[in-house]
């Protein structure tokens, strides 16, 4: 690629068309809104990461010596709320999804550009209120806001925190229905449903969950606020309520929320695995429909969070069985990615390293999920570090790895610059090692009986906890590295060609970075998805 010189006059693109702050804050360009989200969620990631650091430092020693138990409660609550509602839920959909959904289907923008901008302001309002809560004393209920603690006993900023989540929920709903309408109504000529990139199928499934699930958690949290403020009898048995009703309503959204996090990562992995194997995704239709199946089945399993909470034995049986069903479409995806790589021309560029990391770690997270769906085992490991390890394998090993794969894969398109490949690989390896060292010992800790949400523990658990904290330090280095070299590449990175990976998507058939209107003229699609004979170029940066 060294022979390609930077053009003397820079082409006009969405970044250099207008440099005023106003042009960013009032933009309706889906690409710029994606960047606004990228900056915001990165900031929130480091807030949540700070809380995680404090948790791991406290757990370095068996005694609760770094902070009081009350402060520790606030730390894990802040970590959970910020990471779930303000980082993971919007992570891929609001950044890469915003940037790529219109480009991949050959549209100029989302169907409702102003609502897209409004969604970012909703997010910022919610995030701002949440930061106010953090700075003025925090909240200590855990991110799950279980009653009666949240509605009656907690003395922290519960109402402000649930209002913050309520507001941020709207940003999610706005993004979701915007994607649904865009995918239905704005596909370019020839872009049939069976030619859609799998990224789009996964984002469609994600959007369905966002639109149908988010209102339920919003109402559940509103009811907590109403009971807390006005003593309405919703959840308190003394007032005629039912405490388990909160858990039913909360998990009706918050379990599918896991699929809001993981489906977009699967979207990225499908694109990356295909591109770096130079093969059409094996079983395209099965992978596409598996996304929809996950979205639907994901709504039928929520009470597996409540097996020991006092639900009926019959309900536990039903939800245990239904929980196993979700494993089927998830496994279809994993096996089909493996089959895509089989006999493919596999190259191990940074995005592919993250994608392969995703496949392995997601599988471990998923398999341990089956342990937890089994009624007998769940009684033993419920509310222990086994659960913590399980969902971090899904959310960090899965969702965050997929997010980083996507950021690297589309960085040339977003920024117009290549990231430094060697540093990319070093960071990917650091994150993989740090992640496993952090969370694998937690499986063991949980199985041995260490409960979650305590700031002190028996001395015999110290070795495993020290390993976990050491791993977290490595993981932290792994997360800071991309932040540094991606910012560095904005100025010093090689100028990216239009299609550095010789990928097949429409987004690669327009300049890097793209012009504001995405395509000089509306593209007409005449090839199937992942048809590598439709791109003439040989990959240059691999």
């Amino acid at each position: 690629m060294a022979t390609i010189a930077a053009p003397a006059v820079e082409r006009e693109n969405y970044l250099n068309t207008d440099f005023r702050v106003r042009s960013w804050l009032l933009t309706t360009d889906h690409k710029r809104i994606g960047i606004l989200y990228l900056l915001s969620i990165t900031a929130m990631f480091f807030v949540g990461g700070f809380a995680a650091t404090m948790i791991r430092l406290e757990l370095l020693t068996p005694a609760g010596d770094l902070m009081s138990s009350d402060t520790y409660n606030k730390m894990f609550t802040i970590h959970g709320i910020v990471m779930v509602f303000f980082f993971l839920i919007p992570s891929i959909p609001a950044t890469l999804g915003n940037f790529l959904v219109p480009m991949m289907i050959g549209a100029r923008d989302l169907a409702f550009p102003k609502i897209n901008l409004a969604s970012w302001y909703m997010y910022i309002t919610g995030a701002g209120l949440m930061m106010y809560v953090v700075l003025t004393g925090g909240v200590d209920t855990g991110w799950t806001f279980y009653v009666p603690f949240s509605s009656t006993y907690s003395n922290t900023h519960v109402i402000a925190a649930v209002v913050a989540i309520f507001i941020a929920g709207f940003s999610s709903i706005f993004t979701g229905f915007n994607f649904i309408v865009t995918i239905h109504r704005m596909r370019a000529p020839g872009m049939t449903w069976s030619r859609l990139p799998l990224f789009i199928w996964s984002h469609y499934a994600t959007s369905v969950i966002m639109v149908l699930g988010t209102p339920v958690v919003a109402i559940a949290l509103t009811l907590v606020a109403l009971e807390r403020a006005f003593h309405m009898g919703i959840f308190d048995p003394r007032l005629g309520g039912d405490p388990l009703l909160f858990q039913h309503l909360f998990w009706f959204y918050s379990h599918p929320a896991v699929y809001i996090m993981i489906l977009p990562s699967m979207a990225v992995v499908s694109e990356v695995v295909s591109t770096f194997s130079r093969k059409r995704v094996f079983g395209y239709a099965a992978v596409a429909l598996a996304s929809i199946a996950i979205a639907v089945l994901g709504f039928l399993v929520w009470a597996h969070h409540m097996f020991v909470a006092g639900i009926s034995a019959y309900a536990a049986l039903v939800f245990s069985l239904l929980s196993y069903f979700v494993a089927v479409p998830s496994a279809i995806k994993v096996f089909n990615w493996m089959a895509t790589m089989y006999k493919g021309s596999v190259s191990l560029a940074t995005p592919m390293l993250y994608a392969m990391g995703f496949i392995g770690l997601f599988t471990m997270g998923g398999m341990t999920g089956l342990y937890l769906a089994a009624l007998g085992i769940d009684v033993h490991v419920h509310d222990t570090y086994f659960v913590i390890a399980h969902f971090h394998y899904i959310m960090v090993g899965g969702a965050v790895m997929g997010y980083l794969a996507g950021i690297h894969f589309w960085w040339p398109k977003i920024s117009g610059r290549m990231y430094p490949e060697a540093w990319g690989k070093i960071a990917a390896a650091t994150i993989f090692i740090g992640f496993n060292l952090t969370f694998f010992p937690q499986f063991v800790l949980g199985y041995l009986g260490m409960p979650r949400r305590y700031h002190a523990y028996p001395p015999e658990f110290q070795v495993l906890n020290v390993m976990s904290t050491a791993g977290a330090s490595i993981l932290a280095v792994g997360y800071v590295l991309p932040l540094i070299y991606l910012l560095w590449s904005l100025r010093y990175g090689e100028v990216a060609p239009d299609n550095p990976w010789a990928a097949t998507g429409l987004e690669w058939r327009t300049p890097s970075p793209p012009p504001t209107e995405n395509f000089p003229e509306t593209p007409v699609v005449t090839w199937e998805a992942y048809d590598y004979s439709s791109v003439a170029e040989v990959p240059v940066a691999r």
């Binding site: 149908l212 388990l244 039913h248 097996f307 020991v308 009926s312 309900a315």
Partner: protein, 100 residues
Amino acid sequence: MAEHVVSRKTYIVVWIALMALMVLTAGLSRIDLGEWSTVVAMAIAVIKALLVILFFMHVRYEDQKITWVVVIAGFFWLGILLALSMTDYLSRGYLGVAGH
């Protein structure tokens, strides 16, 4: 597709119907119908919701199938929430609570 124009009269009639149903709900809450109280209250609520969706939200005038798909999906998901929650509430008596 052109916007369907709904006459002011239709809106007023629907509004009056909603107000009448509200008075009915409030009135019936003072009469003890035993276990039918909830059934009657829910039935009236469903009628009110249907009026709002069909007339105020213009679903009645929508001839595109996709709109109906969206509306039906919303209700189907509400059905999932209610039906699966009921697997817990309705069966607490006959199989007991886990661990007890």
